[in-house]
């Protein structure tokens, strides 16, 4: 992967290269649909839009700041315990995010329940720390973290949009399907609320994405 080349020379803050770090994870290097990481929480927290958005922001904050912190101290980390150091940094950030959610958005934090804590085990985080932050300067690492968090979050929000719309007839908690539809016999699809349909939705997203981007198709 091109982005893993060590960036050596001095770049302006929003150079094209840095911008690419932000943009690539949204499509061609998307952590969920291309690298198939972080699927577990993508299934669990996408029944409604609001928890999905909060989860997306939480993951973005954690990836961005863990990347930043690890990149800042990357030269001091003894290589033999580097995974432990990464884990401790991630765990500390996740606990802080979890505490903040409990204090300021209590109802959402109840819905996210264990999945905030499980951000620690989200493969995207460790993947970015090992592959990028250990070898790059703080600023590109920070952007890379934001990019990957948003890439993950974008998929989460798309899935949540369809699951909430088809499963509960709502978008972000507001009713959008007119009453007349229900009177005419329309029924919310209860299957959309269950986790398997999140997997199906991811499948459809991957299908659409691959058919639009021939680069992603493997040759048989």
């Amino acid at each position: 992967m091109s982005e893993e080349k060590i960036i050596k020379e001095k770049d302006p803050w929003f150079s094209p290269r840095n911008f690419k770090l932000l943009k690539n994870p949204l499509n061609l290097e998307n952590p969920v649909t291309v690298q198939v990481l972080g699927i577990c929480s993508a299934l669990a927290v996408t029944v409604q839009m609001k928890p999905a958005i909060v989860m997306a922001l939480s993951v973005t904050v954690v990836t961005a700041f863990s990347n930043l912190i690890i990149a800042l101290i990357r030269d001091t980390i003894p290589s033999r315990i580097r995974i432990i150091v990464q884990l401790v940094v991630v765990a500390a950030l996740v606990i802080i995010v979890d505490q903040l959610l409990k204090a300021y958005v209590y109802d959402v934090s109840k819905k996210l329940s264990v999945f905030v804590g499980l951000i620690i085990t989200n493969c995207i985080l460790m993947g970015r720390l090992e592959a990028f932050a250990m070898a790059n300067k703080p600023w590109p690492s920070f952007i890379d973290g934001i990019g990957n968090g948003l890439g993950y979050g974008a998929i989460l929000v798309i899935i949540a949009f369809f699951r909430e719309l088809l499963g509960s007839g709502k978008i972000y908690g507001f009713d959008v399907i007119p009453k007349a539809f229900y009177e005419a016999g329309y029924v919310n699809n209860g299957l959309m609320i269950l986790p398997p349909m999140a997997l199906m939705t991811i499948g459809v997203i991957i299908w659409i994405q691959r058919s639009k981007n021939p680069v992603l198709q493997e040759d048989n």
Partner: protein
């Protein structure tokens, strides 16, 4: 780059200490806000059991509403004696902890609310088991300690669309007006009937299709919790 063992040890110790200190500071700073949230949620649940909706109302106003409606609280034991009459001490009682104690040591809270129509209602907390985890709720009774004014149920992680429906109006509405004692003053509690309750059944409501175990869990929760209050209620009815 290879580091000496000494460097690795010192590095780990410093890292752990720095992180421990920062986490402690965060936890201590946020504790009051978190505890407020838990208290306010309890107030919202109690108010919702007497059909006062607090949806979309800011935190501080929920506290004022609670003070307006719930005038006092006391706790009874399973022999029907009032053992704690200090409202402030009754509020923090957690049923999850009380139910683990032997029956005779349990403190069973009763909240007294005055509704908009000047009726008094007695609210009792409930706690039980659903299919996947705990279910809980509040049940409010008229001054005859028999007729249900309202109720609220909630759950930790029942199946969405099935057992999870216990926190919806569709499941809770049919409880209103039902009775927990029969004519001979025996506790019948409320039966949650699979396949639907008969329209004239004053002790029964419909179960949730596909949510049988959760429905049974709510039924058992009602019976178990109300049994503790039975002695006190009977004393009052006389």
């Amino acid at each position: 780059m290879e580091h000496s063992n000494k460097y690795i040890f010192i590095y780990s110790v410093v890292m752990v200490v720095v992180i421990a200190i920062s986490l402690t500071i965060v936890a201590v700073q946020l504790k009051p806000a978190q505890e407020d949230n838990i208290r306010i949620e309890k107030m919202q649940n109690i108010l919702s059991s007497v059909n006062v909706t607090t949806k979309g109302i800011p935190k501080m106003q929920v506290m004022e509403m609670y003070k307006k409606y719930v005038i006092r609280a006391f706790a009874v034991n399973n022999k029907g004696e009032v053992v704690e009459s200090n409202t402030d001490k009754v509020f923090p009682i957690e049923m999850a902890a009380e139910l683990k104690k032997p029956a005779e040591q349990q403190l069973l809270p009763v909240f007294v609310a005055v509704l908009d129509n000047k009726d008094t209602a007695f609210i009792v907390p409930l706690r039980g088991k659903g299919l996947w985890g705990p279910v809980w709720g509040y049940l409010s009774l008229k001054t005859d300690y028999n007729t249900i004014v309202g109720c609220m149920y909630d759950h930790k992680g029942e199946t969405p669309g099935l057992g999870a429906e216990i926190n919806t109006e569709i499941f809770q509405k049919p409880f209103f007006g039902k009775k927990i004692f029969d004519d001979q003053k025996n506790l019948t509690s409320i039966n949650i009937i699979k396949g639907g309750a008969k329209p004239d059944d004053i002790h029964g409501v419909d179960a949730i299709s596909g949510g049988t175990i959760t429905s049974k869990g709510v039924e058992r929760m009602l019976r178990d919790n109300l049994t503790g209050y039975e002695a006190y209620f009977k004393k009052q009815i006389k």
